[in-house]
Symmetry: C2
């Protein structure tokens, strides 16, 4: 990741699909990098449950349940919900409306040519059965990015074609509008390597069962480190060992604060005479130290039953207003009139239900709602 800690006054959007608990791979990849810019920038983290459904419609209940876990993982990683907007994608109707409009500006072959989409379709083994929602998720992601007016999207290189298509859509909308209503985003590319799974067989992922989750307890962490793939040719302590492809060293590179010590260890390991257990104990100690405060923050947050709901509701209120304003601009570019533009403020009332019920508006609201119900039952 480029140095996000130097950014100021940027609008930054990142997010995760809530398909499982966040793990060390996420931490090394983007989570740590989201903490740095949260003071001096407008940072939004989208819990992309609608995007998760594009390849998980069959396990929709899991996706919904994972939203809470992912928010707790954010808090664990040090993201401060008072400074960052954490919002659930399905809470923002403007994103669906923007997606529908943008889908008219992108062709099917353009989507099919995106390398990331082609790889993901192959990986998921959809075969002939790629859901329409999956093919179109880049359009949905363009809606996410532009809805918030994000100028910086921190993500891996695989996201470059998706940020590019977002720029194309923004350009088309701006030409239709005759002015720049949408921001063309810039990818801030991660230079962190993708963390392998503990089995060394691929990237770390919960579904592959090769992950260390942020929420794992000390015993789970230790057991995972002890199972970690090293060098299968390194049979005796005295044998020379290989560092490349040795997951323990990859983890030390990623998380050991003492890079010089790690280089010394690599030297000893290659020469022979350094046992895997020594390395694994060192890594276990580092990971325990890294994850213990995260687990503590997570447990504290989880013990407050209403906290996640409150965070998401606060995020929704803020993000609803922003995204509805963008939708209003885009609708006007398409020649569509009024509704969101006119009623963005009124729509915001939906967000204020609680406030209203507490205040003097209560009586009038109840009257208005009853009147509307009467009208429909008549």
């Amino acid at each position: 990741m480029q140095d996000l800690s130097t950014l100021e006054d940027k609008t930054i959007l990142t997010g995760d699909r809530p398909t499982g608990p966040l793990h060390l791979g996420h931490l090394a990849g983007t989570l740590q990098a989201r903490v740095a810019p949260q003071d001096k920038n407008d940072v939004t983290i989208l819990v992309a449950d609608m995007q998760a459904l594009t390849d998980n419609a069959g396990r929709a209940a899991d996706v919904a349940a994972n939203v809470r876990e992912v928010v707790l993982d954010y808090i664990a990683a040090g993201i401060d919900p008072d400074r960052v907007t954490i919002v659930r994608q399905s809470d923002l109707p403007a994103l669906s409306e923007l997606t529908m409009l943008y889908m008219n500006l992108v062709t099917v072959p353009r989507l099919m040519r995106i390398p990331t989409i082609r790889e993901e379709i192959a990986q998921r083994g959809f075969g002939d059965g790629t859901p329409a929602g999956f093919l179109c998720y880049p359009v949905s992601q363009a809606a996410d990015i532009t809805a918030f007016g994000a100028d910086i999207v921190p993500a891996g290189a695989d996201q470059a074609p998706l940020v590019e298509i977002t720029g194309e859509i923004a350009g088309k909308v701006n030409r239709m509008a005759g002015r720049n209503v949408l921001v063309t985003p810039t990818l801030m590319q991660s230079n962190a390597p993708r963390l392998p799974g503990i089995d060394g067989a691929g990237k770390m992922s919960k579904s592959a069962g090769n992950a260390i989750a942020l929420r794992d307890n000390p015993e789970e962490i230790r057991a995972a480190v002890m199972r970690m793939f090293t060098d299968p040719g390194h049979l005796k302590v005295s044998d020379p060992g290989k560092v490349e492809g040795n997951v323990v060293f990859t983890m030390l590179d990623a998380f050991d604060p003492d890079a010089t010590a790690v280089e010394d260890l690599k030297h000893q390991y290659r020469a022979g005479g350094l046992g895997d257990m020594v390395l694994k104990r060192r890594l276990d100690g580092i990971l325990q130290e890294l994850l213990a405060p995260m687990r503590a923050r997570r447990e504290e947050a989880a013990s407050d039953a209403g906290l996640v709901g409150h965070i998401l509701e606060e995020g929704r209120k803020r993000a609803h207003m922003t995204t509805m304003e963008t939708l209003g601009d885009v609708r006007r570019a398409f020649g569509l009139e009024g509704r969101p533009g006119r009623s963005a403020a009124l729509t915001e009332l939906v967000s204020l239900g609680e406030d209203c019920e507490a205040g003097k508006v209560h009586e009038g609201l109840v009257g208005a709602i009853s009147a509307s119900h009467t009208r429909f039952s008549a």
Copy 2:
């Protein structure tokens, strides 16, 4: 069209893409049939501007402008906006959200196999450039149909595969929900033949320049009838003429109230001795008589500058509530919580902006809106 006048207590959805004025082809195809059931059924007519954009993104302003024309055409054709809900598709955010969810339940090859879509892609000459929105419009249409809980969809045979895919989606959602939250619709197929254009070269369409629009004035109607394709081999009045493919006879079959007289005329024409001008004058008289009261109703409606806006706003209020309730059910089937379910009534407040401002709620609303603005500018 099967006899819609016998229907009772059905929920019926029909609609048109606002890409140009409605014409005799629409009148023969579905417009007349929509008038009959409007008393004893719950009829909604959707002005499908979002669907029109799926192949008209480049002329979005025309689509927006045509919405008003199409509503005036409905009134012209005898549809009573007090008994029928006339609503603009882009006014209903629930339809976009439903489409996004349904897109996860339909595969890309399933959409590409729909014969109607394949034909339309070929007709439009998209080549490799089919917009994603166009490929997915059957999903959007399934959202329309199910959002209103329509059990009857009156349409041509070309719509059968689209109603079928709607049934598939409804079945999947119902299985996810564990109960029947969505209605499986039935196509009520038109048996009216597709009306040819006045040039006899294809079906009547404004873009082909071969249509007689409901709003055409007497001179335009007469001129179109006089240009109408008959039998190019029928050079002299005394020559035998062909009835098949003769547009004048097709029009007489569709609109002449005296079917026996038309059969007699066909007989004479085939035998020879009946001139085209005699037939064209007859047809002109019939069309003038048919369209004059429609034009009068249209002109009266058009002279009331606020009428179309009022009709669409009334339609929106009713349809917003219905479609948000369906969205709430579908969201729950996908494991998504609360928002539309919880706040359907509050969202309805958006519809009540005017009422609110008039009433005692006003002061509180203004306060709430100011508070929310302050929060975002802070």
